[in-house]
Amino acid sequence: MSTTAVAAPGTAAPRRRTRLTERARSERKLAAILIAPAAIVMLAVTVYPIVTTIVLSLQRADLRFPGANKWVGLDNYKAVLTAPVWWSSVAHTVIITVIAVAFQFLFGMLLALAMHRTLVARGLFRSIALIPYAIVAVVAAYSWNYAWSLSNGGWIPHLLGLSSDPLSSTFGNYVAVIITEIWKNTPFMALLLLAGLALVPDDLQEAAKVDGATAWQRFWRITFPLMKPAILVALLFRTLDEFRIFDVIYIFNQGAQGTESISMLNYSTLLDRLNLGLGSAVSVLLFLLVALIAFVFIKGLGAAATPGK
């Protein structure tokens, strides 16, 4: 690794041009060698499945009837897009994503401000705040599931004095699943926002303070605009992740109780019903939705970054 650094200083003026290109060439060669393994792994493990998924989505392919594969064009897509179960899973996913990300943003921002400014026990404060981030999602889901379940003796119905099991209603399931997601992912949101807060210069805050700006004004007029790119990155990461929600719903009810997300539907079509054709069509549609969300955010990010320049 030290070879490039040693060859770096190109001082001899007359031969500079050739030496630079030579150096550039060897630099490119080294770079190619260094990035090749990672690039090959990422492409091999994702491109092959993407291609097979697209191919399968155009076939009638059912593992229960092997050998009966047949090209059916866009029939699988037609079947998925006309199925109420697809549209309801999209609706469930959108509801969970929007509410969970909104609260993660609100609490994440408060947590980030607290982590940034805290005067007491900074290290311990941050460690404890980070614990939900590190906890296994399945564990978080079980803890919250048992906490809400009346029949399993949860503390929440006990505390609220509920007489019917919250987990027997759709509304109760949504509340419980969304709270689990908020609890688990707020720390990560806070860390991404903390990165943005660190970019806001302290002297700017001080100057505004001297000029008589209130804390509220300082946040909205200085901190918030300067953090905008970091906020968009945080929202992008969390939205994409939330949109793929699977673990918590699987543990709660495997998509019963009207909470089936797109990933859950995809999983049950592929691995329970073993219908690879329909399941692959769902995969492709999910992939397109994720790409669309990413595209919208990245456009927004570009727009947010340019006026600053």
């Binding site: 690794m1 990672a38 906890i135 296994v136 991404l192």
Partner: protein, 276 residues
């Protein structure tokens, strides 16, 4: 009260709120794991009848101990492979000028955003055909792949911060290139590598979707997948005590990592986010 004391009281109040919010679900699962089976559903936050039998129960069955072995082995190998590949790539991204750098970063961003469930079907199929279904490599390959983007972003942001001129300075002072690397550069790079290792290990340790789809027996089942399939005493009763005890055991390592390496985790994720 002076303004300072008032401020401090306010901070302690915030601290208390954060402690309660973060730790109540953890305390609840610990409490469940310590309740006797008969009192598991009594709805009390603090156990009335304490027992360690849930722990001895899960450690006496192969399902959990094998899953623990699989989780640790698969997690460490996937993490090590991802970090090694990412170190090389991140060095190139941070230090070298080459065409296709943007394309490479775009690919890794795309992999990070990829809906993993879309891979499950084809991998399930392929793994069954080539004999990787329900094996360690069958999980290591997807874990390593999905850990690479984060590893590359975090490591390259760390590598950009290293003052590489020091290497030449050391050589001017008479160090050999090997000494310059091991005595000057490596110590500066190691904190970033350790941070990345921890972040990636947490991701692999947490995975559920691949574990539940690509394994079926104690051969390769990791703890999250095994917990979700603990057998109850009947079809309609959940083995709450077993699940809670297993959940506590699988939570302890990540809690320890967070408490010990909080500063590094924060630095790693915030650095990655800013540069990303």
């Amino acid at each position: 009260m002076s303004q300072h004391t008032r401020q401090l009281t306010g901070w302690w109040a915030i601290f208390l709120v954060v402690i309660v919010c973060s730790l109540v679900p953890v305390a609840w699962i610990v409490s469940l794991s310590l309740k006797t089976p008969a009192s598991a559903t009594d709805g009390s936050f603090i156990p009335h009848h304490w027992t360690l039998s849930n722990y001895s129960q899960i450690f006496s069955t192969g399902i959990f101990t094998d899953a623990l072995r699989n989780s640790i082995g698969i997690g460490l190998i996937s993490t090590a492979l991802a970090v090694i590949l990412a170190c090389a790539a991140a060095y190139a991204v941070a230090r070298l000028d080459f065409p296709g750098k943007r394309a490479f970063l775009a690919i890794s961003l795309a992999v990070a955003m990829f809906p993993q469930i879309s891979l499950v079907g084809p991998l399930y199929n392929l793994w069954r055909q080539i004999g990787l279904y329900d094996t360690w490599p069958g999980l290591i390959i997807p874990y390593m792949t999905f850990a690479l983007p984060l590893s590359i972003w975090v490591l390259s942001s760390f590598f950009r911060e290293i003052p590489w001129e020091l290497e030449q300075a050391a050589q001017v002072d008479g160090a050999t290139p090997f000494q310059a690397f091991t005595k000057v550069i490596a110590p500066l790079a190691i904190p970033g590598i350790v941070t990345t290792f921890i972040l990636v290990f947490i991701i692999c340790w947490n995975d559920f979707i691949f574990a539940i789809s690509l394994t079926s027996t104690t051969n390769a089942e990791t703890v999250p997948a095994a917990i979700a399939q603990f057998p109850g005493t009947s079809q309609f009763t959940q083995p709450i005590g077993d699940i809670a005890a297993a959940a506590v055991v699988v939570t302890v390592p990540v809690m320890v990592l967070v408490l010990l390496f909080q500063r590094r985790i924060v630095a790693g994720l915030t650095a990655g986010a800013v540069k990303g």
